[in-house]
């Protein structure tokens, strides 16, 4: 049996107790995730042969976008992934959402087959099931995540139908609720997101990703390129979602300000590797790696 469950709404009065077994157990556990673009050669298949600050093999030109990444994501937490362009952040979330295949490594979900199956090795049908029921993804470019010619409501319906909801009434109501939640006027529910501003498109995309109440939400540079007031609105929405539904999120950003505002824990990536991980305030005030120090000291 596949273990899909709806997330309980938090009832308050629960922070003051020790972590339960479920809280101690990660929702998503990734080990040794590796993604390479190119064939690889006998030289670069030994990761230690790659030059320390370069992820491109000097012999065959293969790029190791993600190199031996391991981390855990727990229920209700926001994990930040920060790094410069080309550090492998987007490749990482695309691997997790099966947009691209991994070269190696494992990922398990505690609410999928009891956390004993490497989801990267599942069949395409099972991967679709995981995408439709257990994860949501918000892309930097709304054109990737939305069907621009569908109506906004239709985009949400698409996700709901994929997740096995067929009751038209239910779908309409859920779509209206979601759009309302992200502050899209219901009068525009039947309009195509093509007509919307960038910030509105991003909010429609978030509502679509949330439609099936996924326990895990992946957010890839969702505020990049938005102007400040719109960015604040999207960040506000993300915090509200986390607060209300305890959705676990991975927030990918090159913007330390966004990471500081949203994330409890942060992982710093460079050239496909995780070079540092810790509490967000510790990463920002006591960075250890040379690159993180440079990054923090470049912060406006």
């Amino acid at each position: 049996m596949l273990g899909y469950r709806q997330l309980p709404k938090t009832t308050g009065n629960e922070a003051g107790r020790p972590m339960t077994h479920n809280e101690m157990r990660p929702l998503l556990s990734v080990r040794h995730l590796t993604k390479r673009f190119g064939k690889g050669c006998s030289f670069c298949r030994q990761p230690e042969n790659l030059p320390p600050l370069n992820n491109r093999c000097p012999r065959c030109g293969t790029v190791w976008a993600c190199n031996d990444l391991s981390f855990d994501l727990y229920e209700g937490e926001i994990l930040g992934i920060v790094g410069e362009s080309g550090s492998g952040k987007s490749s990482l979330v695309q691997c997790l959402y099966f947009d691209t295949s991994v070269t190696g490594g494992t990922a398990t979900l505690s609410n999928y087959q009891d956390g004993e199956t490497n989801i990267f090795l599942e069949s395409p049908q099972q991967k679709r099931y995981i995408r439709n029921h257990l994860m949501g993804m918000v892309y930097q470019n709304p054109w990737t995540g939305l069907k621009m010619n569908f109506s906004s409501g239709g985009n949400i319906a698409e996700k709901l139908i994929a997740a096995g909801h067929f009751n038209v009434h239910h779908i309409q109501k859920r779509a209206a609720d979601l759009l309302d939640h992200v502050e899209i006027p219901l009068s525009r529910m039947n309009e195509a997101p093509r007509n919307f501003s960038g910030g509105m498109q991003q909010r429609v995309q978030i509502s679509k990703a949330l439609a099936n109440r996924p326990p895990i939400l992946l957010l890839d540079e969702v505020t990049t390129g938005l102007d400040l007031s719109v960015q604040a609105r999207v960040l506000d929405l993300i915090r509200r979602i986390q607060h209300e539904s305890r959705t676990a999120m991975i927030v990918v950003s090159h913007d330390l300000g966004v990471i500081r505002m949203l994330c409890d824990r942060t992982m710093v990536m460079k050239q496909g590797r995780c070079i540092e991980a810790g509490l967000t305030d510790q990463i920002l005030e006591d960075p250890h790696h040379a690159y993180t120090q440079l990054l923090v000291h470049s912060l406006l």
């Binding site: 308050g12 009065n13 629960e14 922070a15 003051g16 107790r17 020790p18 972590m19 101690m24 727990y74 937490e77 604040a232 609105r233 960040l235 506000d236 915090r239 607060h243 505002m261 409890d264 824990r265 991980a277 810790g278 509490l279 305030d281 510790q282 005030e285 006591d286 250890h288 790696h289 040379a290 120090q293 440079l294 000291h297």
Partner: protein
Amino acid sequence: MDTLLRVDALEKTFLMHQFDEKKITGCRNISFSVNEGEFLGITGPSGSGKSTIIKCIYRTYLPTGGHIYYQSDLYGTVDLASAMDRQMIKLRQTEIGYVSQFLSIMPRTTALEFVAESLLEMGEDEAAARLRAEDMLAHFHLREALWNTYPKTFSGGEKLRLNLARAMVRKTRLLLLDEPTASLDQASKETVKERIHELKMAGTTMIGIFHDLDFMESVVDRTYQLQSGILKEVN
């Protein structure tokens, strides 16, 4: 009395990779302990490492040596110098508070929400959190007209008082105070003092750094002085 926190040979050095791997010592060989319900003051000149100690306890800095044994309600004895990040997050939400003189605000969050949020984190329900937040804003004499506005445009003093209201609204087991009164006027200092007394009555253990020695003497039980890296108890 039971010991709540025992710092043992704490050491923190910063390695500056951008500057020829220069090493800067924050503090070294620091040992002391705090009993439950006690208020411990730490004094010393600027740059002597007082804040470093406080930040190591809160784990904003990762200690490079030594141990910080904390008697937790949830976990029993925890070494904060090496506790898991997840454990640290939970302890910060429920047991260990931190007040500094700097306000870090969230965009599009009103003063009232900002204070209430800190109670919601601890698991209090929304209505109760709101009431307590209002009480606390009133206690720190923040004008009612400002409660439902965004703090970005507040005056310096208003920001300071809002920051204190947020940090001191919760009753944590351990409260770390990093010069919270540094730029406050006399009247505001009195309100801080009142709140410290309330928290103390409620059993909160506190460690504080103050530059204002008169203020410190009126609130602390014991004082340590940090002089060129050495911690000495003062009577």
